[in-house]
């Protein structure tokens, strides 16, 4: 497996970069925030992304996608991370469509995937119930009642929860709170009776929501995959999303680092460029090295998703490797992004603050460094 992008992937990356810089620079995010945008993303930008075919990149051809693989989606996410683009690409496409592809029946897939690809349908996935990611900890219950299920429980930190048309809700049909057996996946319409969706305003201005399910009644056909057998598919898809988010984090960290280096060359104090101070040079060189490692693990992890010879466990190891490393380095670089800019780094007018906010949210999303180091160790039997 090569760790260097193919020509096609590089072309896609260049055009994605161009698009994000031109059409979705950070000023778009700033505007969404300042105007308290209802939907939390720029619909015109999303429409253009749909026209570019991004939502269909990793979707099978028979369902209206392009089968360009996760490598394609990976480079797009990396570039959108550079300008902190808010869009349904993560929740609806990377997460929702992947879970649908992985767990859904043939009918569910052919009915819904083309609509995700065309942008008509927005999905969101609801797993976590506590402030700290733990996909096994599922308390939300689904009780069978004739040809229906009745869902009860609460979900938090649901990405794009308040704008999705359909939510995939992880609920327990049997078993203890921590057991992987008995976890089921349900497709629920956002306007279902008893489902309350509260948008939560987050520090990084990415859409998130809290769900309350009270006696939400869904037909048995809304089950994704077998009853009680949802965890395996969920776990596989969590790894896909973790890797995709790692790619996005790589883009953001790279952008911050480049801004730091530019500033070190531009800002003068004591009559010289501050980049001539060794105390800053060495920290910059260390960040550069860490970022090179990040780039390699993201390439390797995304590659593993497209490589049929890799097992689920191989991919799980790669996902935890990539997410752990990216969390750690994102924290380092986003902190230095402020520190090395001095006072101006603390100002809202200056963009660097957006990056540290997004970095922390991305770190928490689907497991932080400690979560993934623990998981990595367990997967490696120690």
């Amino acid at each position: 497996m090569s760790l260097v992008l193919t020509e096609d992937q590089q072309l896609l990356k260049d055009s994605a970069k161009n698009f994000c810089q031109q059409n979705a620079p950070i000023s778009v995010l700033r505007k969404l925030r300042d105007e308290k945008s209802e939907r939390g993303y720029d619909e015109a930008v999303w429409q253009q992304m749909v026209e570019l075919g991004w939502p269909g990149m990793a979707v099978a051809e028979e369902h209206g996608g392009f089968e360009f693989g996760y490598a394609g989606l990976g480079v797009v996410l990396e570039e959108s991370g550079r300008t902190l683009v808010n869009s349904p690409l993560i929740a609806s496409v990377l997460f929702g469509a992947s879970l649908l592809s992985e767990a859904g029946s043939a009918e569910q897939k052919s009915a819904l995937l083309p609509k995700v690809v065309s942008g008509e349908l927005l999905l969101a996935v609801a797993i976590d119930e506590a402030p700290v990611h733990n996909p096994q900890h599922i308390n939300t219950s689904a009780r069978k009642d004739g040809d229906h299920y009745i869902l009860d429980g609460e979900k938090s930190f649901v990405l794009d929860g308040h704008i999705a048309n359909k939510l995939i809700i992880v609920a327990r049909t049997e078993g203890d709170v921590e057991s992987t057996a008995g976890v089921s996946l349900f497709l629920v319409d956002s306007d279902a009776q008893g489902l309350d969706i509260q948008r939560t305003l987050m520090v990084d201005n990415r859409n998130a929501a809290r769900l309350t399910l009270q006696q939400v009644k869904v037909p048995v056909e809304s089950l994704l995959g077998g009853e009680g057998a949802g965890f395996e598919a969920l776990d596989r898809v969590l790894d896909i999303v973790r890797i995709g988010v790692a790619a996005e984090m790589l883009g953001s960290a790279t952008e911050v680092f480049e801004r730091i280096v530019d500033y070190l060359k531009q800002r003068e104090q004591f009559g010289v460029q501050i980049g001539s101070f060794q105390a800053l040079q060495h920290r910059a060189a260390e960040m550069y090295s860490e970022l090179e490692l990040c780039k390699s693990v993201v390439r390797a992890a995304v590659g593993a998703l497209d490589d049929d010879s890799k097992s689920t466990e191989d991919r799980a190891k790669m996902a935890s490797l990539a997410k752990a490393k990216l969390c750690e380095v994102s924290e380092l670089i986003s902190n230095e992004g402020i520190q090395m800019h001095g006072g101006i780094g603390m100002t809202d007018e200056f963009d660097i603050g957006f990056f540290i906010k997004r970095a922390r949210a991305a770190q928490q999303f689907l497991g932080d460094a400690a979560f993934h180091r623990n998981r990595y160790a367990s997967l490696h039997n120690f």
Partner: protein
């Protein structure tokens, strides 16, 4: 079948037939083959293995066949590497000739110099040492003062080197000398090759904190070196010197890579991998009972794996095959990783990693202690950690150089 697959097949068959059984067991330090005129083989199969590999030029797989190398393409060489590691084959020959001098000799040497030296490097007949550092010229290598003055057809060399690894065992030296004292320091350096048996060369071993004494002080007292043994042009040795350092750094960065299956390889499972050691010395069954150590080991292994991917990517990206400024990044990171690895072995093994000698310790445990101490040199040899960071800051990131700013004012 593609030609590459055919090559894999024939290589596999050849290795099956030619790699002696003991050469498929983990390397023991005493059996590492450095070659040279006075080479002694602790294990006779080491010699057999070297001779067979050298015959095919596979000790230096990508070097031109004209000079005794394997003449393999990069792809073939990586197939060979795969096949060697598939059977856990030992490295047949380790030498500074292979990792440092050879590549620059091929780039800068004359045809005659290559004909004379390369085949002997490939076959391990001549062992080389590196005469760079001096008492007054360490990180600031270009300030070196060992001088060479032309006298007829010879240079007369006077001065001294220090930290010369294996100078007492080497047959020849590649040596940086000053040939012009009137010009800026980088512009008066030349690159000489000469026999350590030349009259006027003496060496004095220095003991390391790890107890071994692999390096020396090296003295030159009116040593006569034929002018034909100058490599590259007069006073242009600095370019070659830096190029060689890139090769050296790439080689040293390899210390950051895990060996074989575990973190340090070895013959027993107790000290082969960090997690194995941590569990063994705590009597843990399924997972490391100390959560802090477990987390640190996981973090180390994540970095180590990420670093291995980065070495691989850097290889794929350097299309010309030569190392570049990223060699400094790899050197910095690889060496820090190796030091971290050994600090973790100490934590994993407790007092069993702190023995010096005697029966209370397994040979492998004593080896860990010595390796831990030796690892501290990684961020000094081949250019210190700080020097690598300076190079990354300047050459890769393009940050201004305080020293030259100061000189301008």
């Amino acid at each position: 079948m593609t030609t590459l697959e055919a090559f894999r097949d024939s290589t596999r068959t050849w290795l099956e037939e030619n790699c002696p059984p003991s050469m498929r067991t983990p390397m023991i330090p005493e059996e590492i083959v450095w070659g040279g005129r006075d080479v002694e083989y602790v294990n006779p199969e080491s010699k057999l293995w070297l001779d067979r590999m050298a015959e095919k030029g596979w000790t230096c797989p990508t070097w031109p066949q004209e000079y005794g190398g394997g003449g393999l393409s990069k792809d073939e060489a990586s197939v060979l590497k795969d096949e060697l590691s598939r059977i856990n084959a030992r490295i047949a020959l380790t030498s500074f000739g292979i990792s440092m001098l050879g590549p620059v000799l091929l780039e800068y040497g004359t045809h005659e110099q290559k004909m004379e030296h390369i085949p002997k490097i490939v076959r391990g007949e001549i062992r080389w040492c590196q005469g760079y550092s001096e008492p007054g010229a360490g990180s600031d290598l270009a300030s070196l003062g060992t001088k060479a003055i032309l006298d007829g057809d010879d240079y007369i060399v006077n001065g001294s080197k220090v930290w010369t690894s294996y100078a007492d065992k080497a047959d020849w030296i590649f040596c940086l000398v000053r040939t012009d004292f009137e010009v800026p320091k980088h512009s008066g350096i030349s690159f000489l090759l000469f026999d350590m048996k030349s009259e006027g060369v003496t060496t004095k071993p220095i003991q390391l904190i790890s107890g071994s004494s692999p390096f020396c002080e090296t003295f030159f007292d009116n040593v006569r070196v034929p002018a034909s043994q100058l490599m590259g042009r007069l006073n242009e040795g600095w370019t070659i010197a830096k190029r060689l350092l890139q090769h050296e750094r790439t080689m040293i960065s390899g210390f950051g890579l895990a060996s074989g299956q575990g973190d340090r390889g070895g013959t027993t499972s107790t000290t082969a991998s960090l997690e194995g050691a941590a569990m063994h010395y705590r009597g843990d069954k399924e997972r490391i009972s100390d959560p802090v150590l477990r987390d640190q080991i996981a973090q180390f292994k994540i970095d180590s794996e990420a670093f291995a991917f980065t070495s691989q990517r850097s290889l794929e990206e350097s299309k010309q095959g030569g190392p570049n400024a990223t060699s400094s990044m790899l050197k910095y990171y690889g060496c820090e990783l190796n030091k971290r690895r050994y600090e973790l072995f100490l934590k994993a093994m407790g007092s069993q990693a702190l023995g010096w000698e005697g029966d209370s310790f397994e040979a492998e445990e004593l080896q860990v202690t010595r390796e831990w101490l030796r690892s501290k040199a990684n961020s000094i040899e081949g250019g210190t950690l700080e020097v690598q960071l300076n190079i990354v800051a300047k050459r890769v990131l393009g940050l201004p150089d305080m020293l030259s700013l100061a000189n301008k004012k």
